[in-house]
Amino acid sequence: VKTVFLLTLCTGLALAQSAGRPEWKVPDDAASKPSPLSNKPELAAGGKKIFAKSCAVCHDAGEKQKGPHLASAVVQSETDGALFWKISNGNSRTGMPTFSSLPDAQRWQLVVYIRSLAAANQR
């Protein structure tokens, strides 16, 4: 038991040490990637469903939310490609999970949904 505890502690500390300050820079080629669904706003409904099950707990939890609201300027100023990359990669240092287990098309649907939030705000 002692061995497991020490092993776990050492690995945990080593990883925590390497964590450093969270940085989350999107590579240029990923940021410039266009959305294949940008002309299909009707797919936002599917994106909304994925948002409800996978994202809302952090991004739509009122005062308790951990991530930024997706209609906020900081999110909306990102390119489609950057949003897709961040959804796909996550950031284990900030607690944002990777959603690469979702099919590509569903991640692009999330981007379509995020854009629809800005459109709804403008109305």
């Binding site: 497991v4 964590a19 951990k66 996550g90 607690g95 979702l102």
Partner: protein, 308 residues
Amino acid sequence: MKIVFNYISLKSEFVFFYGDHMKIVCALVLLILALPLAAQETPYFVTYDHHMEEVGNLEISTQSTIGFQRQSQPNFLGQLAEFEYGIAGWWTSSIYLEGATQTDQAAVFTGFRLENRFKPLKSEHSINPLLYFEFEDINEATRIKKEVVGHAEPSDETLSELRGEKARELEAKLILSSNVKNWNISENFIVEKDLTQDEGYEFGYALGVYRPLSTLATGKDCRFCRENFAAGVEAYGGLGSTDQFGFTDTAQYVAPVLSWNIGNNSTLKISPGFGLTENSSRVLLRIGYTYEVNGFGRMIAHVFGGHQ
């Protein structure tokens, strides 16, 4: 936990499949169908991919392994309850409690396991490594076959006899996992050391591929949409030990896997595994149910007046 203890108190046969228990199964199915819609959970039972538990979430799982044996060996049932918690984005920890029963024998508690998984790389890569460490305080009556390592040795001893044979083990896995064109491909390499016996190191592997049945999400709420299902196959088995490395006298399985996301936080999984060698069970039928409690850490912090 309650499920396990009620369950392992049942004697020998797999009574939950028939008789009055059918009513309980029907009631559970109806309860499940009444839950709100859909989540994405890996369909694997043995193979691990690189996806970690979300920070602050608690995942409660139960898993049954029903073993149909060859010839004279008695059939068995292994039962497992898992509580998995996302401590950090790069650290997931779990505790397991397990029990077992066998044809014409009383059920026994077979021990507990503590597991930690670490994700050393921050973002997604073409191959994503994970490090896995587990401490097992179990006994030789264990039947869950959470992983298959070393050599497979048929035993004629009863569960109550095997229960007295302690097995404290350390296990490490290198998990490699990739997502390629909507497919997940995962490879696990396992090494295990029994601390109670001088058996050297035992080795094993698990490989898996799966993909969702639909890549686009429909806009409507639906329980039976293809997007709620994922299917694939996994292969796992022993690779011998430091005394004799290789496939000789090992158990090997190939198992189709299917998962169904039945609610926002619930997943049902099934996998019939087919034994490929004489030392394998004929069939290992695995059934699993997972429920995820979102924001569990936050709830606990709130109870104690703190912040997560």
